[in-house]
Amino acid sequence: MKTHTPTTHLTSLRTQHTVVFDELERYKLLVESIEDYAIFMMDPKGYIQTWNKGAQKNKGYAAHEIIGKHFSKFYTEIDMASKKPERELELAQKFGRVEDEDWRVRKDGSKFWANVVITALYDNGGNLVGFAKVTRDLTDRKKQEDSMRTANLTLKEQQKKLEALNTSKDEFVSLASHQLRTPATAIKNLLAILLEGFSGPLEAAHRELISKAYASNERQLAIVESLLKVAQVDAGKVVLNKTPTDIKTLLYGILEDQSDAINERGQTCKLTMDSSLSDKIVIDENNIRMALENLIDNASKYTPHGGKIILRAGEKDNQIDISIQDTGVGIASKDMDKLFERFSRIPNDMSGGVVGSGLGLYWADKIIGLHGGHIEVDSKVNEGTTFHVLHPRVTPGA
């Protein structure tokens, strides 16, 4: 049996004391060595009691310059005037800890953006013995965040400006086109009055000149019309008026309207209808008609004299497929992605003689898109092109 003598007891106490002392030394070394964080203790009133390397690096004070001073030294004048340091101690005491991100002031008067945590410290009896304050310099992160915020605001402002410019552009095109249409309509009328004999007979030479002026003005009107339509579709102002429409009647009507121009070019056009398309489908007849007329007109313009235009209406994957096939110059694969762009004029053997605004395909594509459909193109140079207008098959009552 081991006997506890006073010497043994003393030795045991010394050993325990050494263990605790070593433990405390290790924590002191840990805190004092950390350079990235200012870690220090304050008494219950906020007077600084300890100071680590991180605190010196962070705030610029050496230990002997700051121990015993009040921690409010690190706050800005505005914060001090509003009693922020005192409030933070109160909150730390009330909730155990308080965290803040704000400006703090160094010894040299310079400011840095700090993340600060103040933790209340209590002894075993629950008495407040002071506070631990841990401060991290986040100036670099704040600078980055501020830069990003500024860049973001600048981007947003630029985006708003661009959107406003885009709307202005659409409005300008619309207004300019509308304004241009008025004098062009007046010229059309006056020339037509002469050509149609309302002012008496014309000399052949005069008729020829006036006819050329009339034709030129008609082209101008067509371009202005295209510009207006494109401005409307770009501005999202096209409202579709969908009604049940008989495809056969629509296509035959279009062919009849186009037949004069096609015949003048010595071309033939035929229509093949799939019998499964006897139902009416719900479309904006006016706009679809114009889109198809565009495509047929294009097919005819880019097909040489004596060529063929074949119109087919059928079904493909539960979609209406209206295809316009020509035996024309065709489109090179390198030019395909430019086909539906505005003012796109693909150079080929016939394009020199073709009159147009370069807006028709762009507009047709947009209109078909608004219907939920799309246009596909197959083509071989010098053999011909087929445009497929694919439209969802929506029947009345669906």
Binding site: R181, T182, A184, T185, N189, L190, A192, I193, E196, F198
Partner: protein
């Protein structure tokens, strides 16, 4: 003789329509805006009004809103504008306009034949 009123702010167009229609046996009056057109409608009973929509002072819609069709049961109103669709045209048709003619698409002969058709159908 049938009486026709042309309501059109663009002077050249107004005068050319007057010229074209006067080659037939019509009495043709003209107004440059909706307000002047209303004043003329108080003085005379027209068989046909050719009404532009975009006009200063009082546009075509404002004219139709102020106009009392019940006071002019024989008068037919035909819009002659450069609109081929849209809200303004739809509203005009709702307010009692009979149909629309697109100015930029019609020749003098076509205008005469349309007017003849509409006036004879009254």
């Amino acid at each position: 003789m049938r009486k026709i009123l042309i309501v059109e702010d663009e002077e050249i167009l107004r005068e050319s329509y007057q010229f074209i229609l006067s080659t037939e046996a019509y009495v043709v009056e003209a107004a440059s805006d909706g307000k002047k057109a209303l004043e003329l409608c108080q003085k005379m009973e027209f068989d046909l009004i050719l009404l532009d929509l975009m006009m200063p002072v009082m546009n075509g819609i404002e004219f139709l809103e102020a106009y009392e069709p019940s006071e002019h049961p024989r008068t037919k109103i035909v819009i002659i504008s450069n609109l081929s669709g849209g809200d303004m045209l739809a509203k005009a048709l709702q307010l009692g306009a009979h149909k629309n003619i697109v100015k930029a698409s019609i020749t003098p002969r076509q205008l005469l034949s349309t007017v003849r058709y509409e006036v004879e159908a009254i």
